[in-house]
Symmetry: C2
Subunit: 345 residues, 2 copies
């Protein structure tokens, strides 16, 4: 069977089972240090493990030319920004403090050195904003540009805790930071060369090419007692499905409550809700908590926090959509699968 | 200017300066946690930093199809082994304990799922030998197969120490573990379809496709007081040049002392010394220490340790070769530069 047939998530599922099996063998050995110190393995936004009672986080994300981005609409500097931003967002999704980045860069030999320097400028721009240092990596020859960024972070002492996907509880409210849909709208605009009012065009472009990871917000969530959260990279519905699968619960969302960006509404009208629900790459935080904790969170976070639904007792991973009157809405789309959506095969 | 013109090391030099500059800005901020905890940034086999007084190590290395390997001679399982082995070797080169691997895998959608499972089998084979766990990663669509492995390790408490490239001292002896040249000879054999006696063919194939990183040996070096070491990935002369540049010293090697594998001598005759000096990818350890420390090391390490020269006061980075009679030998080759050697441009 081909990867294109089982898709990215099907493949990850198979590989996670293999890793689980290998890990189980380690568990039998009391001297196995890696196993003893591991907190979270495959299946969350980042891996987590102890180093001398300090929780460490590690994540990696790759971007491939003409799969995840195109130089037809993206500058090298923007690529540098975004490649680190998506990893900062994974550390934010665990409620952690980003620290060290390792950059693995694949390049054709014909690439201009000045372009690579621009790429690194973009990375240093965002690294500086989030107290992150580039401490290593490698540079290799490749037929297309690819950039794999590994980001290592800290989540403080054991008692502080982290945000997990597997921690949603029945009765929890579901909330998101800020507004959704701008990044997917930006991709649509850039990819198809659509023209909008400069103000909106700028907003959508920025959302897709230079997203702002919610690092401070993720830290505040942990401090206020939130246990369950992740970042929205595959789309609201797809990512909420991940939370529900890992937590073995269901979820119900009121689509009338989903906060859609004004720019997306203005530019995409009827399509804007779909972009917000399934578009992906918003890099906002999606989290669940009791109403009491939600109220505490809203008081300290500087961006809007909107409750859009609740965690319910249901088949694990089932996400239902209802409208303001409680009527069920049918939606088969479950987010962005690189292997299915991308047309380069 | 193109990357192919300045080469991999030229590019890394430029980028390291940018990172240094960005780091200097951090140094002015006393609350900058990443800066405060950093021990080693760009320019060694792995980055090193403190997490609650425990030294942590992190490294990344990528392999790209038809640049670093070809499926015409390498199986998926061997690729899995080697992709982790080269990173284990970087942790060995710091004298550390490997712990957690993150795998970023680029694949065409037409790739068979069974092949990817074989790849992971190869990874789990070697991970199990070295107490390492696969704890995360991502899988992305790409026009060719690439695999970026990030490996995180520990180097224990602060007082234990690590192996550095920048720690060679004038008067130190230079030594290598085991024998050199087999991996480059293996690549030559596989790439050109050369035929040798089965015993030697197997040895060379194994050396190139399934190298054994010197993890236990690196740990023993640190325990016996060695301060300066790295692994041989770019070739003996190229890597010794790195040590000399970072340590601001020179080196003199007696080529008659360089331990060349018997299989390489048998199969490549006159060319075998060149393969041992500049071939690369041996993943043996290259280190420097006083004669007293060398003697301690030889007593505890299970593989051969051969002293091949000494660190001298010279222009930083200058490596001279002499023969058994002390006569100077001219060699302009300085190791393997991916951007120069690879013929796919």
């Amino acid at each position: 069977m081909k990867v294109a047939e089982i898709g990215e998530f099907g493949l990850i599922g198979r590989l996670a089972k293999m890793a689980q099996h290998a890990g189980n063998k380690y568990a039998e050995d009391k001297h196995q240090e890696a196993w003893k110190h591991l907190i979270v393995g495959i299946g969350d936004d980042a891996a987590a493990y102890f180093a001398n009672n300090e929780i460490q986080l590690a994540t990696v994300d790759s971007m491939v030319q003409d799969v995840h981005f195109s130089f037809s609409y993206m500058s090298w500097r923007e690529l540098g920004w975004k490649s680190l931003a998506v990893n900062l967002s994974d550390i934010a999704a665990m409620g952690g403090f980003p620290r060290y980045a390792l950059i693995s860069l694949g390049l054709p030999g014909s690439t201009q050195v000045e372009d690579i320097i621009e790429l690194y400028r973009g990375m240093f721009d965002i690294a500086g904003k989030f107290g992150t240092m580039v401490v290593g990596g490698d540079t290799v020859n490749a037929p297309v540009v690819f950039i794999s960024v590994t980001l290592i972070g800290s989540a403080g002492e054991k008692k502080r805790g982290i945000l997990r996907r597997a921690a949603a509880k029945v009765g929890d409210k579901i909330a998101v930071t800020n507004y959704l849909g701008s990044s997917a709208a930006g991709l649509e605009m850039l990819g198809k060369g659509l023209k909008f009012k400069p103000k909106f065009a700028k907003e959508l472009r920025q959302a897709h090419l230079m997203p702002n990871p919610r690092v401070a917000e993720g830290q505040l969530l942990v401090e206020k007692g939130v246990k369950c959260g992740m970042d929205i990279s595959d789309g609201l519905i797809g990512d909420l499905t991940h939370i529900c699968q890992e937590s073995k619960v269901g979820a119900r969302i009121n689509i009338d409550l989903v906060p859609v960006s004004l720019g997306v509404k203005e530019c995409f009208g009827d399509k804007s809700l779909e972009l917000a629900l399934t578009g992906g790459e918003d890099y906002e935080l999606l989290f669940t908590a009791s109403t009491a904790v939600m109220n505490k969170v809203k008081k300290v976070i500087h961006c809007p926090v909107t409750v859009i639904g609740e965690i319910i007792e249901e088949k694990a991973g089932k996400v239902s959509l209802v409208d303001g009157d409680g009527r069920l809405i049918n939606s088969k789309r479950t987010g962005w699968d690189h292997f299915k959506v991308v047309s380069t095969f």
